[in-house]
Amino acid sequence: MSDERPAGAAPVPPSYAPPGHGSGPHAVPAAAPHAAVAEAPLPDDGAAAVRRSRRRGRGAVVLAALLVVALCLAGYLWVAADRWRQSSDAWQEQARAQGERVAELESQLSAASSELAAAREQLATATSRITALADEKAQLGDENVASQQYLDYQRRVSEAAGVVASALGRCTSGQSQLIEYLRTPERYDPADLEQFGQQVDTLCAQATAANESLQQELQQ
């Protein structure tokens, strides 16, 4: 590229080059094959020095910027990590508290379930007992009614037996009276004796029928 530079180009003043970088008049020319140029620094050397200087400056700026970015990033990460740690601690504390709460609730639930099961069992026992007692009461009521009906029956049977006994007694009395009449029949009107005898027969027949009915009833 330097070959294309015009011969009349103005050289760069030596003071223009930055000190300490070897780009002054004693510096080795950038293009070694051109020995004549080495004794008198070409204007390109100064420009190159300027460019190198500028590159170094830019590098320093970029490095500074990167350093700032790195520092800020590090700061952010530190803050973020600290906050995450705090958040994590809070979460862990809350999880632990909730775990304890869950364990307590589970314990209460278990106790309540046991109590409920026991109460249900007691309730079932109580209802069964109530049903059984109601049944026993009903059966006793039935037996009471049946006994009352049996007593009524026995009373009716006793009354019937009394009536039958009375009828049989009257029959026996009538027959005895008829026998007495027949011992001295000349003292009585034959028609009256006949009528009395029929009445006694009727009475005895009725008493006998009642007695047979009673006996049949008693046999049932």
């Binding site: 530079r5 830019r58 500074a64 952010y76 803050v79 958040s87 809350q94 409920l116 209802t127």
Partner: protein, 273 residues
């Protein structure tokens, strides 16, 4: 191609403006980085679910599909429960003792309102007195009894209030429908039996007008007058007989409703002499 004073393309040299671009770039990068990440505000962290652990329900922490089911009373069960532990099906059933003239028989019945219960005609027939008792053994005073002429049904009115009474269903049960029979078979303890409707048939006893329903719910003598309930606890029939093959016969709900709607269908029970 045009060239600049230093013999370089203008685009490469830039007339001295080229050095400013990396600096500006670096400055912009620094500022952006500073604003975006470095020195900007730290984004907020996800907050805790609440201020205190007690404010969180246990259900928030335990997955619902594996959470142990808390013991509870099923709604259907709770709706039927009474304070004494008997359900409505049991509480509405009554035991009827027919004290006849030298005879004693028992049957079942069920309440349809606070002072009225339904049973069978043959349960209350030839009675000198009727005695009604509840599921818990309480005796209720009977005010009057009347029987229907066209069905084996009777209505008994009580002086004392009945413990509970069910609702009547909407329609007759269909074959296959599940039924529950509650009554006092053999005059013994209150019993609840289950079965399903087999079908309809002509009344073999000629005690009812029209067809009756056949179910396989077990019944015994003394179950006459028991209510047949559907799964919702509504009356869908009245047990009145048992067949030789162990099937139970029901007066269908439609007949019950028809008879109940006709106030002239009932005549007072004539006491035995």
């Amino acid at each position: 191609m045009s060239r600049g004073p230093a013999g370089r393309p203008p685009s490469a040299v830039g007339n001295g403006r080229r050095p400013a671009r990396p600096v500006l770039l670096a400055g912009a990068l620094t500022a952006a980085a500073t604003l975006l990440v470095g020195c900007g505000p730290v984004p907020p962290f996800p907050p805790l679910p609440s201020e205190g652990p007690s404010a969180i329900a246990a259900s928030d922490l335990v997955p619902g599909d594996v959470a142990p089911a808390a013991p509870s009373i099923a709604p259907s069960e709770a709706a039927h429960l009474s304070p004494d532990g008997f359900d409505a099906v049991q509480r509405m059933a009554v035991r009827i003792r027919n004290v006849g003239c030298g005879a004693l028989s028992t049957g079942s019945g069920f309440a349809i309102d606070e002072h009225t219960l339904i049973t069978n005609r043959h349960v209350v027939a030839d009675a000198s007195s009727l005695q009604v008792s509840t599921y818990d053994g309480r005796d209720l005073e009977v005010a009057a009894a009347s029987t229907a002429g066209l069905a084996d049904l009777a209505v008994v009115r009580t002086e004392d209030p009945l413990p509970s009474f069910p609702r009547l269903g909407d329609a007759d049960p269909v074959p296959g429908q599940h039924v529950t029979v509650v009554g006092y078979p053999e005059g013994r303890a209150l019993t609840v039996t289950q079965g399903s409707v087999i079908g309809a048939t002509n009344d073999p006893l000629n005690a009812n007008l029209g067809q009756v329903l056949v179910t396989d719910a077990p019944v015994e003598p003394g179950s006459s007058g028991s209510a047949a309930l559907d799964d919702d606890g509504r009356v869908v029939g009245v047990v009145y007989a048992k067949t030789d093959d162990g099937m139970s016969l029901l007066v269908p709900l439609s007949t019950v409703q028809q008879v109940l709607a006709d106030t002239t269908a009932f005549t007072p029970v004539e006491p035995c002499a």
